[in-house]
Amino acid sequence: MEMKHVKGKNKGNIMMYALSTCGWCKKTKRLLNEMGVEYDYTDVDLLEGEEKAKAMEELEHWNPRRSFPTLVINNECIVGYQEEKIKEAIGA
């Protein structure tokens, strides 16, 4: 699955399932960028075929509703743009 890596401070394992068109996903990416943390993300709407199916399967494991953004911060799952929760989970 194609993952995009954003360089920054290592605060553990941060992974985000996003859509390239989604406003809340953009807000979440902006927040992570402002915090300057290292993270990986994938824009599922830009994937195709098997890759897309695999990403959705993986996402379903964390978030059965398969909604976006879904953030996994050191095995803790946060669904939606939730600024306080995200900051808390990252320990900022």
Partner: protein, 170 residues
């Protein structure tokens, strides 16, 4: 990987102006967080080029219009979400209370049934007992507008949803 679809700032501004005008004319309001709203308008334009219709930018479309009908903007879930949370799922539209700053915005829960639930859902039965009506009554699934005529209008005069979003009500 899908081809990247490019949208210009001019296209975004044009659609933003149009949606804002149409919303205000019929009692709806766009989010005043213009950065967020224009991000969403850009998403709508990308989805229009990608799928041929305005699939919700914050949901993953299947790319088959029939299966995505309920999430074509304005989606079937906008009005109940405006009622309950003061915002639609992606926060393109907000309520008067949010506009006045009485309510804060954030991500809201997804109201759309899962794909399994959608497959199982049966179409609503038509209300009976008024069969003597001279014309059928059509209901806009987005805003609830009702009209009695042979066929639904091409575009809902209230929320601008297209003809295919109407259901036979009576």
């Amino acid at each position: 990987m899908s081809d990247r679809v490019e949208v210009t700032g001019k296209e975004v501004d044009k659609l933003y102006e149009r949606l804002n005008r149409e919303a205000e004319a019929s009692g709806y309001h766009l989010n005043t967080d213009v950065e967020h709203t224009k991000d969403l308008v850009e998403g709508l334009l990308v989805n229009e080029k990608r799928y041929g219709y305005w699939a919700c930018p914050c949901r993953l479309a299947e790319g088959i219009k029939e299966k995505d009908l309920d999430i074509i903007c304005p989606c079937d879930y906008r009005d109940p979400d405006l009622n309950d949370y003061g915002t639609c799922y992606c926060a393109l539209y907000v309520s008067q209370a949010v506009l006045k700053g009485e309510k804060n915005l954030g991500s809201i829960p997804e109201r759309r049934p899962s794909s399994e639930e959608r497959k199982r859902a049966k179409p609503k039965s038509i209300a009976k007992g008024v069969s003597s009506l001279p014309l059928p009554v059509w209901r806009c699934k987005v805003c609830g507008y009702l009209c009695a005529r042979e066929d639904p209008p091409e575009v809902c005069p209230i929320c601008k949803a297209k003809k295919e979003r109407f259901e036979r009500f009576i």
